[in-house]
Amino acid sequence: MSILRSLTQLFVVCCLSLPLLAHAQDTREEGPALLQALAEASSADKGDVISRIAKSGDERARDWLAAFADGKLSRIEDSGQFVIVLENRGRNWTVADALTGEPMGEVSRRELDTIRINNALRRELDSILSVIDLTVNNAERRLEAARALRGRVDAALSKRLAELLPDESDDRVRTVLQDALAIYRLEQGDITAVAPLSGSLNSEVRAALTSAARSDDPKLVAAANDALASIEQKLKFNRAAETLYFGLSLGSVLVLAAIGLAITFGVMGVINMAHGELIMLGAYTTWGMQQLLPGQPGLALVLSIPAGFLVSALAGVAIERSVIQFLKGRPLETLLATFGVSLILQQLVRTVISPLNRTVITPEWMSGSVMINEALSLTLNRLYVLGFALVVFAGLMLIMRKTRLGLEVRAVTQNRAMARSMGIKATRVDIMTFALGSGVAGLAGVALSQLTNVGPNLGQNYIIDSFMVVVFGGVGSLWGTLVAGLSLGTINQLLEPWAGAVLAKIVVLVFIILFIQKRPRGLFPQKGRAAEG
């Protein structure tokens, strides 16, 4: 009895485990063979091997394909062992065995043969990886995968998607998948596919409709054109909103760069040609902070805000004490001297740090964009800079209007002799004002490090624009700077699409020249006797 039972048990176990074992053995054998085939196939045949890998059912297939897509699937020259590159900086790369996943430490680049990939293959791989991703549990990843598939569906894929569609639980993913299938049907000339697609703002949908409008079937052409016309209506509004956003964001950069100058030039009357280099110092502070806090670019960026202010403010004080105070009331000499200072600062950075641009990392929460709808998305880094510019402006207004320092600055500006006789230390006010203006330039540098290159020439690119904004807005008026910056940015972006970047800039300059002819004191002229004198 007991023998019989154990025999039966054995039999059952064998029966159950045999197919499993066989399956496991299959993939063990096939893995290396497939990778071998991938490594040796010509570019044209690689696509075939990729689909074989995807179909092999091996649980490591996704890792292999993802590594291959990133160009990180390699073979060691001597042993022929397949590895996945984990870290590919420098001359020695950290790798792990592709078959077992065991880390293997560092291998010299000379020893590794990377398996070649190109854009065409990567597109194919993207689709395959997306299809694999459509079956994962995470809805966000499924949504991303479905979006990636839109416009790339072929006959085989359309069947697979149709199978997956009924099981899909997430509504957003369903909609995207339905769109993807409709685009495929439209590409096949199916006129019923037009109706579900009309009204979508997605660019793949539009591309599919545009090509349908060029087809031979007159009914299809008419339907597609109707759908396109209704989409175009919606797009017009979105485009206008987009241009406005572009303009405001360019304007906010101008405001940030110019507002420090509005204080030193506008309020104190000092023509500081080194203003751009104070911006540059702020940007380099951000870089320095990121070097001090490796791996935490976000925290470093936040800490750079006070640090950048301090560094530039101190540099500003140094410039004021060593150069500007001796040239009071001599604008031409101040201009020349500060121009010299700006060249010295630039070359100092070149010699001490490097003539090459420095990498400032954009933190995760500042990259990408917020999607308002399919046709309108606002880039995040510029959105932050826009907000930052407004905060800085509000802060400056508070200081000028509500603090003792602001009161003293305004008093000294209006009538220096009178202010001094009332017991205000004019020299101290000069230093503080210059430090404030320079510090704000440093803040601009911190913001600009997220938008443009951090290099020795950073400041040069902004100095002319800054003066332009201050003069246009009205010397001495912070409100003027804000309005001038934002409106110049918007005008520039309105002109750019049809005039081109070069001509747009010229047109803006001509406009300012004409404007200054009519209103020499800018948009918001200073009032009162001090301004007249």
């Binding site: 990133d70 160009g71 590919n88 900086r89 420098g90 001359r91 000379r110 043969d113 990377t114 070649r116 990939i117 190109n118 854009n119 065409a120 990567r122 597109r123 993207d126 660019s203 793949e204 539009r206 591309a207 599919a208 545009t210 060029r214 987009e242 241009t243 572009f246 964001s249 360019l250 070359q347 070149r350 003539p355 090459l356 641009n357 420095r358 990498t359 990392i361 954009t362 990259s367 990408g368 964009s369 880039t379 995040l380 880094n381 938008l451 443009t452 290159n453 290099g455 020795p456 020439n457 040069q460 690119n461 520039n492 972006q493 750019e496 699409p497 081109g500 970047a501 070069v502 800039k505």
Partner: protein, 436 residues
């Protein structure tokens, strides 16, 4: 300063003793060969040019360690034209007239080359120019070791057209001579290949342009017309970083609209976070990632010379490597550093390049180069996706511009002309003919 002089004196004494002992027959063995280096070390171009100065110093050091050229040591003369175009001409004059250098390696921008050209021709100097340029020039005194348009732009467009199936084209460039000429050539080339004018969008931006929002948005609209679209970028230097950043932020991936760039190399990529750029393309004649032992040796030497483990090499550096070795071979062949003799000797000289082949100096003073298309990887390097089957000889005068398609350049006697018109059978004479 005096220490430096002592060292210099010591070195030349050493050179002299070695030279005398090794080559007692050499006539002028006591003089070192003076190599002028004309690259900006300050100003806007310092970012690109200062590494080329270091490359030259490294090559000279290596050559001297190996005994110089036929026993004569090489002496570098470094000047700083400070990214100032007229100053380039002054410094070139200083190098030739005052320092009496035997050869000059230098320049980056086309405008700086145009600025030194009259000086080099007037004083009969030798200039090796290492950067890709727009062509349409041939001087008997200049050797162009960088790519002409047919060695970079045209093959890249061929690749996009045939391998990727691109039907719509954005030609985006910085507003100066190189992009304008290159785009003119490309426009003609594309139209010759049946691309309609409506499928080509041309856009120019000022130097250092940083606000790419509306242009990228335009490209996005242009690319959403149901035909495969690509951007051919001749955007220069710094302006690339915000351009790529904006592309990534607006969600334009390389698989949707690939950008192929002619001015973005390893060095430019070392200044940015490359993650969003993965898959975009560049066309060059050399990549640091090329799997070749000569290349690995060069990289090791460069890392050792700079002392920085993360130092990168790039295409113009390879051009100087080739140019320098060609000069060395030509001097050996001519047996003298006399300019006219070297000029004659260098035509036909072949030296190994860093990608596993040979570069030959052609009669039109351009060299043969392989063309490589590479995709940007997340480590700031390129992986080669396509390569011309053999090397391509540089063409001084483009076949796709109406004014220059009949012109050829041949600096061998008896033709000895930089712009010979094959239809009319005359030498245009625009370029200066030898003074002697």
């Amino acid at each position: 300063m005096t220490l430096k002089k002592h060292v210099k004196a010591g070195l030349s004494a050493l050179a002299l003793s070695i030279a005398v002992s090794l080559a007692p027959t050499a006539t002028a063995a006591e003089d070192p060969i003076k190599v002028g280096i004309l690259h900006s070390l300050s100003g806007t171009m310092a970012i690109s040019e200062s590494t080329l100065k270091d490359t030259m110093l490294m090559l000279i050091e290596k050559q001297n360690a190996a005994g110089g050229i036929e026993g004569r040591m090489l002496e570098p003369v470094v000047v700083d034209p400070a990214s100032n175009w007229p100053l380039f001409a002054e410094k070139a004059r200083e190098l030739l007239a005052k320092e009496k250098v035997d050869v000059i390696f230098g320049n980056w921008t086309s405008v700086s080359r145009k600025s030194v050209l009259p000086v080099i021709e007037e004083l009969n100097g030798l200039l090796f120019y290492p950067v890709q340029y727009e062509g349409e020039e041939s001087s008997e005194n200049v050797f162009y070791t960088g790519a002409a348009p047919n060695q970079q732009a045209i093959p890249a467009v061929d690749y996009l057209m045939n391998d990727i199936g691109v039907k719509r084209w954005v030609l985006a460039g910085t507003d100066y001579v190189y992009p304008r000429t290159t785009n003119k050539i490309l426009e003609t080339y594309l139209k010759d290949h049946g691309v309609a004018a409506a499928d080509i969008m041309i856009n120019y931006t000022p130097f250092g342009h940083s606000n790419w929002q509306s242009i990228v948005s335009d490209i996005k609209t242009f690319g959403s017309q149901g035909k495969k679209t690509a951007v051919v970028s001749t955007i220069n230097g710094d302006a690339n970083v915000p351009f790529y950043r904006e592309l990534a932020n607006q969600g334009l991936a390389a698989s949707d609209i690939p950008v192929v760039a002619f001015s973005v190399g390893e060095q430019e990529l070392s200044g940015i976070d490359t993650a969003p750029l993965v898959g975009h393309l560049a066309a060059w004649n050399y990549f640091m990632s090329v799997d070749n032992d000569a290349n690995y040796d060069f990289i090791d030497a460069w890392v050792a010379y700079t002392g920085k483990d993360d130092a990168v090499t790039n295409d113009p550096m390879e051009a100087h490597y080739i140019g320098f070795n060609m000069y060395v071979e030509a001097v050996k062949k001519a047996g003298t550093t006399e300019v006219n003799a070297v000029k004659d000797a260098i035509i036909g000289v072949s030296v190994p390049n860093l990608t596993g082949g040979y570069a030959t100096m052609m009669p039109n003073h351009h060299i043969t180069k392989p063309v490589l298309i590479g995709e940007i990887q997340d480590n700031g390097q390129f992986t080669t996706v396509w390569q011309t089957p053999s090397t391509v000889a540089g063409d001084a005068w483009s076949d796709f511009l109406p004014g220059s398609k009949d012109l050829i350049s041949d600096w061998r006697k008896p033709l000895f002309c930089g712009n010979y018109n094959v239809v009319e059978g005359t030498c245009g004479g625009k370029s200066k003919v030898a003074a002697n």
